[in-house]
Assembly symmetry: C2
Homo-oligomer: 352 residues x 2
Amino acid sequence: MSRFLSKNYEKLVPYTPGEQVNEKVIKLNTNESPFPPSPKVKEVLSEAVIDKLNLYSDPELKELRKAIAEQFDVTPDMVFCGNGSDDVLAFAIMGFCGNGGKLCCPEISYGFYPVYADIFGVELEQIPLKDDFSIDINDYIGKGKNIVIANPNAPTGLALSFEDVEKIVSSNPDNIVIMDEAYMAFCGESCMELVKKYGNLLVTRTFSKSHSLAGLRVGFGIASKEIIDDLNKLKYSFNPYNLNTLSIKAAAAAIADNEYYDDKIAQIVKNREYTVTELKKLGFKCTDSKANFVFVSTDKISAAALAAELRKKGILIRYFNKAKIDNYLRITIGSIEEMQTLVAAIKEITEA
Amino acid sequence: MSRFLSKNYEKLVPYTPGEQVNEKVIKLNTNESPFPPSPKVKEVLSEAVIDKLNLYSDPELKELRKAIAEQFDVTPDMVFCGNGSDDVLAFAIMGFCGNGGKLCCPEISYGFYPVYADIFGVELEQIPLKDDFSIDINDYIGKGKNIVIANPNAPTGLALSFEDVEKIVSSNPDNIVIMDEAYMAFCGESCMELVKKYGNLLVTRTFSKSHSLAGLRVGFGIASKEIIDDLNKLKYSFNPYNLNTLSIKAAAAAIADNEYYDDKIAQIVKNREYTVTELKKLGFKCTDSKANFVFVSTDKISAAALAAELRKKGILIRYFNKAKIDNYLRITIGSIEEMQTLVAAIKEITEA
């Protein structure tokens, strides 16, 4: 730390992203899609578009907000886009919870929530999960604090029902409820339609998982116009041109291509069911994941040791050295060939 | 404003970006380059790269930081890259001046500095320019506050000499001095080599002006490793993957193509000299701009009226409705044909 940095950030512990590697490995550690993006993405990133990069991108992101709005049957003024959904979450937590505001989230969840709380001076309450890793919604009913919940939750993969989410949102009318639906495309019950009914709900999504565009950095939030106006006020005071022209065009083309992505998502869900079935045969405990990863544990070998052994075989998965989940592994769902290789490797390791 | 937004942001006035238009106009209002980016940019944005967008971009930005470091003869750990230089400035002002810290800047300068001060809770002193719009460096010697100066300054185009910048940096060893060199490529005297000598200097640059990549959103800052480590600490606590894969590859290819950009920058400088010469013939006052724009005034017609008349003729320039400069216009330097059309239009309007 330099002697110039504000003392407020002295103890700030940044988020640790999953490892990115160049080697030839089976990469099941950061919940990326195994499939390339829609061919429509290549079509719109034309030479003509690249030649016009001398001009600023549209700070209003009209083309992209319109394409997203159409998918979710809302108006474009209910859509905020960010440089990844991290950007959306950052602005939301800064704006609605920052400077001494109160926020709560599940204790086991996306590791970035506590980091945002720290950087923006938010008083964060981390609420323990039940022993089976599920969220007890009674902990959030009439809470009187802002709330952020990943649904499905990460790294557990467990999802809340539509009814339970509505109970949380409706019982906290004076606070923002952020439902982080990064993993929703893989068969959870989205609460998206509730944004028209409740002015305190912000639903965030990302192109990184379901839309094979982690490398493009685009996420979005949908909420009432008033909430979106607030987020835009912060964006225009921080970084007005927050998405580049290529991101705008590629993401707009991708989100409209339901045919391509419905098929890819169905394959991932099928590969997830295959993986769970096979790992259960090997004696693993697996949560009922609704995401593009599974969360698993075995008595035969510690999670840390299994992760290390798989790494030796060129397979990367995510191990969290964290209380309560340090004997679990989060494994991203890849192609069927990758999952077959994984299962075979785990069989070999655990039966050795 | 929704009832959920933190009261700290109630009076926040966001930055107003220059107008972006779709119509066929001569666009001389936001300091973009009239030239397309280097052909190398198209080469690196290959189909193979697009097909790999399912994988996260490199949060360490190794390829780009290495390419930038090579250009400026520093090490990659002295380079921080942002989603536009606005991103770099935001993190720097947040980190080094935020939460009640003190910052000063010229009163007439980049309109975003006061916005950053506002959003991050910085105590900002805006120091008046001299009557000829130049910066009096005595105002900044031994100031005892953090300092941000655009050099060349915007919208005046006037530049500080290398010696004057060194006096400011060396006389404020306990504060950060940010030299915003967004417009430096167009013949100012860069202070970049001073980053090796002074641990309190941060120099920021952008690909938006000199490198014809405003639509790509890439900027960077160069400073001591300690300063860069601090900026990374904030980045990893806000948005670790802040540049997408396409931006990383395109910007790395662009910055290495000196042959292409040296030629384009030389043309812009030549067009600037042409524009100044012709406008002076028409009785205009022009500052000695070292940027890719000129800052001009005439007694024949008010700046607001001239901007409006030019707009009717399909030429957009930037008028600032702001005390002390409200009879000046900032005109971006475009292609020679565009500047000839501009000069002819101004002649017609002012001689009517």
